[in-house]
């Protein structure tokens, strides 16, 4: 006779075993397990799970057909780009200390040009030259992969990294909410600065990602270019002087625009999925969002009549098209396989995978990745017919915006710090000041105070602020950051007082 307690024990243990084993019922056949594979490629990447899974499968088949051997891709995914940067830096610093050449990782795949340029800038070099440039020179002609497009670099001249797919920051918006707020669909960045969007904008955080900071830089570039086009020369003013004046004013316009958009923002995030999700769920009306997440959520919410409550647009003049690169680390454990992986990524087979519909020949197995291949010759009618987003062709539908590094690139890090002290550190005060202005209908003096960015003028940014950051003197730089933040904090508090006095 089994006692009641033993029966209970069996029941609990049985239930635990059933629940623990339940996932086995759903298990899809694994293409190759780490122990069975002939070869192993270690890839560190911030790419999402869908990309990792589809590229594992596709490269497995590609390499098996080519060499008869099986490959397991060991994806290292310590979080986002900031964690990856930290892991790579720690590993290289330790390797250097102990005279090791490599860090036990073969490939760095995905992220922004900023991360790759930074890693490539170290001496001794962290990346090795990519053989694909020698093996397939025809892929690097302007008609296939140009060295740069829209002012963005697509591969490094020293050939240590190359872009594999395109990405572009744009605006995603919730059609229901935009309508409810009484607005037209947003078309450019400045639309997000309208007071009706107060508390309804979701912004990406430029402190945490080079690509996001670049998107903010584009916004400033846009206002500079508008000023350059509209500024008329004063009497006795040379062209050089006129341009300098236009750039100064364009810079201030750009910062003011960022202030107003940030004042409408409910947060700054580094999570790629948070913004399209919040916008799709109606917690935010619009937000700054990378193209493929915008398209993925658009598709997800598409109704039978073809409409979707989440739309994504590339803003009219103000967004360049950048790349997600790939590179091979020095001292890679499997250097030949790594070179083969890069060649695969740039081959027709690897490129089609980025945007083909799931299930079509050469396409992904489970779901479309919704990303745009970097190779220009992929945008042919035959290929477009297979694409999940055939209408998205940045080479054809480009918005005529060209990034001019000479205006702002030298002050890139200074600009990041300015956005931080002007909008992020003092976000509560900024929001309160903006609310006070809206409620008081923008009285002139208070509005002027709000927009006062003289302390971070173009001259000061490119001069003392940039120099201070470059100096590497952390304590002094922190002191400067604190001073600048306190100036903006005071400005916003003064704005609130002036607006209330009205």
């Amino acid at each position: 006779m089994i006692s009641r307690h033993v029966r209970k024990q069996c029941g609990v243990i049985g239930a635990l075993i059933i629940v623990a084993l339940a996932p086995l019922l759903f298990q899809a056949k694994r293409i190759v397990s780490p122990g069975q594979a002939d070869l192993r490629l270690t890839v560190i990447s911030p790419h999402n799970e869908s990309i990792r899974r589809e590229f594992s499968t596709a490269f497995y088949h590609y390499y098996r057909e080519k060499s008869g051997k099986s490959v397991y891709i060991d994806w290292l995914n310590p979080g986002g780009t900031s964690e990856i940067r930290r892991v790579i830096d720690d590993k290289f610093s330790n390797a250097q200390k102990h005279g090791k050449k490599g860090i036990g990782i073969d490939v760095f795949f995905g992220g922004g040009e900023y991360d790759f340029s930074r890693q490539a800038s170290f001496e001794p070099k962290r990346f090795v030259p990519l053989e694909v440039f020698e093996q397939k020179p025809e892929w690097f002609e302007d008609s296939v992969i140009a060295q740069s497009f829209s002012g963005e670099v697509y591969y490094e001249k020293e050939r240590h990294w190359v872009g594999t797919c395109l990405s572009q920051f744009g605006i995603c918006y919730n059609t229901d909410l935009v309508k409810r707020l009484g607005n037209d669909d947003p078309k450019e960045w400045s639309d997000l600065a309208h007071p009706s969007y107060f508390g309804k904008i979701a912004l990406a955080d430029p402190q945490k990602s080079g690509s996001i900071a670049k998107a903010f830089e584009m916004l400033i570039q846009q206002t500079i270019q508008e000023r350059l086009a509209s500024t008329v020369a004063k009497t006795a003013e040379t062209e050089q002087q006129r341009r300098a004046r236009a750039i100064r004013h364009g810079w201030a316009d750009g910062l003011n625009l960022i202030q107003r958009i940030s004042a409408n923002a409910r947060y700054f995030t580094d999570s790629a999925t948070k913004i399209p999700l919040d916008v799709a769920q109606g917690d935010a009306a619009a937000g700054m969002c990378v193209d493929f997440y915008g398209r993925a959520y658009h598709q997800k919410h598409k109704k039978e009549d073809g409409t979707s409550r989440l739309e994504w647009i590339s803003p009219k003049a103000g967004s360049s098209v950048s790349v997600d690169p790939v590179a091979i680390f020095r001292g890679a454990p499997a250097p030949e396989l790594a070179q083969e992986f890069v060649t695969f990524l740039l081959s027709e087979r690897g490129q089609i995978l980025w945007n083909a519909r799931a299930g079509v020949e050469g396409g992904p197995e489970i779901r479309s990745l919704g990303r745009l291949p970097v190779r220009r010759d992929m945008y042919t009618a035959a290929h477009l017919a297979k694409f999940a987003n055939p209408e998205a062709n940045p080479y054809e539908n480009y918005n005529e915006f060209t990034y001019h590094p000479e205006y702002t690139a030298a002050g890139f890090n200074a600009m990041r710090m300015i956005i931080r002290v002007m909008c992020i550190d003092v976000h509560d005060e900024l929001v309160e000041a903006w609310q006070a202005l809206i409620e008081a209908d923008f009285p002139e003096r208070a509005t002027h105070h709000f927009h006062d960015v003289a302390i971070v003028s173009y001259e000061r940014t490119m001069g003392e602020i940039r120099e201070q950051i470059k100096s590497g003197k952390q304590l002094e730089t922190l002191g400067m950051r604190k001073r600048l933040a306190s100036v903006f904090r005071r400005n916003y508090q003064q704005t609130i007082r002036l607006a209330a006095r009205r």
């Binding site: 635990l16 945490k208 700054f268 489970i366 590497g472």
Partner: protein
């Protein structure tokens, strides 16, 4: 306790704690105390106190800590008292159900909360359907909620910690004392105020100190409410920033100091019962059977608490089966596809095995170390035992990412932990130790509270009868604090199963992912990442739910009364 034994235990514990907690944390935090030339400086640390933005962040975090602890107490104490005093309908089931928050993976819970309390979420839709809110201007609970939103969410998530500790503490009370007071004419309120509450203060303090430090350093909930002017979010933003800025590390150092000060101060004020410890109850308290109406009213209170605490769980459950959920009380239509994709992912079965291994290993270490440490803290007279007690709370105050970065740096080739990180070519040992270090406070606090409430006279009697100290501990002290240790072990196991930040950095290869990192990875699946992650989150909730309920059924001889002696 013999002094030499105490010194030996302290030496071993200090060595382990120093090696696996202080050293990795110091390795990361040192940047906050070195200037550009590598010399020691306090400028970054003191600079925090000159910066109004960081000061406000710290103040807000402190306020969140205090207010959340008070609200958590207000929820947990009546529940614990009800459990202790009365028999009411469905008691066995309800006392397990109210522990629901323990089974929720925190970041999946955040997704669930957003679908319930979002502008177009289920709650607003319900209010609109009942005509209590205009559909053209739904309220933004998350955007407007901020401070109080965070407090309520924290209290609803953390009350089981305090509840379990208080129930354990109440089970130590000798009903004879209350009866004596009653015989002398003391009113129920006066008995509660003068006997019950003071005697269970060690349990209240054990739970409240964990709840305070947890709330003070909480990151996830303020992020859900977009509440950024709070120190943990400022640290998180700094750690993730592209700049190599020492400020976030300096704030971590400040938070550690504040945590120790608050802990020591509150221990001084609240930590010991002003009435001293009570002897082991000489008689069993008989639970009072309430009249049917009153009994059902108490049951209703427990049910309500369970329902409110389960709101995030419901959000996750509905999301896991929804095709779309927007502007309606329930999802538009249901599907099982997310379970197929989530549970069918190749990394899932391995991650379940890993989680079980990591969490069980960590809990075992915590129980062994936690009991030894607690014994030294309570039973020895060794100098510095209070400091040791405060140090044991620090793992709660260090952001997970900071400790993980420390472990990561030390697990590189030729570094101290390299061997540990590569036993069997796997970081399993390192992960178990990392998990154990961060969950040690739960067991230490529970065991300390148990020992403080049990009378040392019983052990002394055993010793005087010739039992060696180890036998006295095993046969007398350990059984007396068994309920407390089990409570601590359940918390340690549950929170280890739900751990994210250590594994994010240390379990880099898919073969070593625990289930939470698998969920995190699946969150980034294009389009339906949140639904797929929710499906796996539901699996985790069911598994942990059965594990915790099973612990009650197996250990508690009388079902729901696990913490009663």
């Amino acid at each position: 306790m013999k002094k030499i034994t105490a010194i030996l235990i302290v030496a071993v514990v200090s060595l382990l704690f120093g090696l696996f907690f202080l050293y990795p944390v110091a390795e990361v935090l040192k940047v906050a105390f070195l200037n550009e030339s590598g010399e020691f400086t306090l400028d970054y640390f003191l600079g925090i106190f000159n910066d109004p933005i960081y000061l406000e962040g710290l103040w807000n975090a402190f306020k969140l800590g205090v207010v959340s602890t008070v609200v958590t107490f207000a929820i947990a104490f009546p529940l614990a008292l009800g459990t202790h005093l009365w028999k009411f309908p469905l008691k066995k089931v309800l006392t397990i159900l109210i522990l629901a928050p323990l089974v929720l993976p925190p970041f999946v819970g955040a997704v669930g909360v957003k679908h319930i309390f979002g502008v177009e979420g289920a709650f607003n839709s319900l209010l609109i359907d009942f005509g209590l809110m205009s559909s053209t201007s739904p309220y933004d609970w998350l955007g407007e909620g901020r401070f109080w939103g965070v407090v309520i969410m924290l209290a609803l998530h953390l009350y089981p910690i305090l509840y379990m500790n208080i129930v354990s503490a109440l089970s130590h009370l000798d009903p004879a004392m209350e009866q004596a007071a009653q015989n002398l004419g003391a009113s129920p309120w006066s008995r509660f105020r003068k006997i019950t509450l003071p005697l269970c203060m060690p349990g209240v303090f054990a739970g409240a100190s964990i709840v305070f430090i947890w709330s003070f350093t909480e990151l996830g909930v303020p992020l859900v409410f977009d509440y950024s002017r709070v120190a943990p979010v400022q640290i998180f933003d700094g750690l993730k920033s592209l700049d190599s800025d020492p400020t976030p590390y300096a704030i971590v150092a400040v938070m550690l100091v504040v945590s120790v000060i608050v802990f020591l101060f509150s221990k001084l004020v609240l930590g010991r019962s002003p009435l001293g410890s009570s002897a082991r109850p000489k008689m069993k308290r008989e639970e009072r059977t309430l009249p049917p109406v009153l009994g059902w009213l108490v049951s209703l209170g427990f049910m309500l608490m369970f329902l409110v605490a389960s709101i995030p769980h419901l959000g996750v459950l509905f999301l896991s089966v929804s095709t779309d959920w927007y502007g309606t009380v329930f999802p538009e239509s249901l599907t099982g596809a997310h379970y197929g994709e989530g549970l069918g992912h190749p990394m899932v079965t391995g991650s379940i095995r890993n989680s079980l291994l990591y969490a069980s290993g960590a809990t075992l270490i915590d129980v062994i170390l936690g009991c030894a440490i607690a014994y030294v803290i309570v039973r020895s007279t060794i100098w510095g035992r209070n400091l040791l007690d405060a140090l044991m709370m620090l793992p709660l105050a260090v952001p997970g990412l900071v400790l993980a970065f420390g472990y990561f740096a030390l697990s590189q080739e030729n570094q101290l932990f390299y061997g540990l990180a590569n036993v069997f070519e796997s970081p399993v040992l390192l992960l178990i130790i990392a998990y154990a270090v961060r969950r040690l406070p739960y067991v230490v606090r529970a065991a300390v509270a148990g020992l403080e409430q049990s009378d040392v006279v019983l052990e002394e009697a055993a010793l005087s009868m010739g039992a060696p100290p180890r036998r006295a501990f095993q046969r007398i002290a350990l059984p007396l604090i068994g309920a407390n240790v089990i409570a601590g072990a359940i918390l340690a196991f549950a929170f280890a199963m739900l751990e994210v930040s250590d594994s994010l950095i240390l379990a880099q290869q898919a073969e070593h992912y625990p289930v939470t990192k698998a969920i995190y990875a699946l969150l980034s699946t294009l389009g339906s990442g949140h639904e797929i992650a929710s499906a796996l989150g539901v699996w985790a909730m069911v598994f942990l739910g059965i594990a915790i309920a099973g612990a009650f059924i197996l250990v508690g001889k009388r079902g729901g009364s696990l913490f009663r002696l």
